[in-house]
Subunit: 306 residues, 2 copies
């Protein structure tokens, strides 16, 4: 369960109310990226993410990119659980016909690229002038039981990350500079690490996807695990254009890489980089090069995760 827009007390109360409703163990206390559900011998991983015009995308943005991102963020949650995607259900608020056509085109490209079927959903109209909302439910089949969770990092384990950090920031800056081509693809068309997640099933201890920034998500893993995570900044693979802005890259979201822990000495079966170590819980959730972050340092994108 994730909640966008930080810290409004009304929202916190609402999330607390939901948590008191979602008492089934499968809900995992709404503390993880996805729910785990056993049905008739199968273990399903289920996630639902929404995007809202004016919040998650800007009016005028290419709706094909919005559709792609909606699919990608949901599949990234499944990847973090080492789940094989099996179905998508769409909730869509209609806009103008041209935008709807672009959305459908991006959706087609995403489901084709990631090989996951769209099974149905609902299409609604909204009052004129309203911000539109779209939602997607992704259902996956677990390939490891229990599926990896962010709460399972243990002291002594090594911290690893797939890919490079800052790709989305670099793509965003290209887009803002007017490049609607390949240079902005890493922002417009993120690639969830589905294959990597599946390859890591049964091997990792903790795993989660990096949606809101490496530092914020690593601190969440530490908090959920009751550990302290120490990151070696020099080891973090940063996008080549951002090496002099590494801290910014590590606090920017939308990279959708996988962050995971392995037993010391173990090597992952996927391309990944060892960037830190898990310690017993100390005063701070996160250490950067052995020191806590400065007071007021922003760790990541403005979400509260619940």
């Amino acid at each position: 369960m994730t909640a966008t827009a930080a810290g409004a007390s009304g929202e916190e109360r609402f999330i607390a109310a939901l948590r008191s409703i979602a008492t089934d163990p499968a809900a995992r206390g709404l503390a993880d990226d996805a729910a785990e559900l056993k049905v008739g011998g199968a273990t399903l991983i289920v996630t639902h993410d929404m995007m809202v015009e004016g919040v998650h995308w800007l009016r005028g943005q290419d709706m094909a990119d919005v559709a792609w991102k909606l699919v990608a963020v949901n599949l990234s949650d499944l990847a973090a659980k080492a789940a094989r995607p099996v179905a998508l259900m769409l909730g869509y608020t209609l806009g103008d016909a041209r935008e709807d056509a672009r959305f459908a085109e991006g959706l087609r490209e995403a489901v084709t690229t990631f090989g996951v079927p769209l099974l149905g959903g609902d299409t609604v109209a909204a009052p004129s002038g309203s911000a539109r909302a779209v939602g997607l439910t992704a259902i996956g089949e677990a390939t490891a039981t229990p599926s990896p969770a962010r709460a399972d990092a243990k002291a002594g384990e090594a911290l690893w990350v797939t890919g490079t950090i800052g790709n989305a920031l670099a793509g965003y800056e290209a887009l803002v500079a007017g490049d609607f081509g390949p240079a902005s693809l890493s922002y417009r068309r993120p690639r969830p690490r589905i294959a990597e997640g599946l390859a890591l099933a049964g091997i990792v201890s903790a795993m989660m996807d990096i949606s809101d920034g490496l530092l914020l998500d690593a601190s969440r893993m530490a908090d959920a695990s009751g550990t302290t995570i120490a990151i070696d900044c020099a080891a973090v693979p940063i996008h080549p254009a951002l090496t002099d802005r590494a801290l910014e890259a590590m606090t920017w979201g939308d990279d959708y890489q996988l962050l995971f822990t392995l037993l010391p000495g173990a090597e992952p079966p996927v391309t990944a980089t060892r960037i830190g170590i898990v310690h017993p819980r100390g005063v701070h959730a996160l250490l950067l090069d052995g020191a806590p972050l400065p007071m007021g340092q922003v760790l990541g994108y403005r979400h509260t995760n619940t």
Copy 2:
């Protein structure tokens, strides 16, 4: 897959585009209330319905009722497929704190009443002043394989309906008259026919829920089945307060009863009324007391079903 707001050509093109994407057999061509998905030995029924402020509910309406209805309409889709509900995923756009608290309260009452766990979802903010959207995915486990579909009515079979028709209309009129108590409950708090749906598994030929009006939904069953459905008006159980407005009751939505067909002579294991018969397809999808409906007669609530 259902689409609210009738017939805009942009919407029709969008739905057509979705249908060309949703080519997996589990999507059933987006022609049914829910998708059927096989995963690891289990057969799942999955549905997703959205509701939008200003379209599906009015600003100022009790959000507890909105939450209840969101759960009920999704569970009604599962009931029509004889599926046992196993999980709900919520997508929620925050409003003011008092409304959010009422929504959570109605959600709690619904999931408790219907015994289905809320497993997670997403909570988002919307730009100020925007109409809010809420979405729910309901996952059920099929109890009959294949699960009942609206397309399976066969000539010679009898048409049956659970409960009485017009309950929602009567409740709506009570609400409009200022009765926020029991008299309006049938509109504010519809009861999906989950137990009846389960009891009918393996017994019915065709089945669907009545969400948009008996006549409209019966005509959809006829169209999907390639049959003509003949309804005997005198046999239709109408809410006692509406017996002199039976046609209006039969064209009003939100009753969430189950409409199904049985072999001639068979009796259902649930309380239900035989209201008609299935004929080979003639010129008209629907006959009322042996005659087609007058040109221009509204069959049901303003939805286009896709």
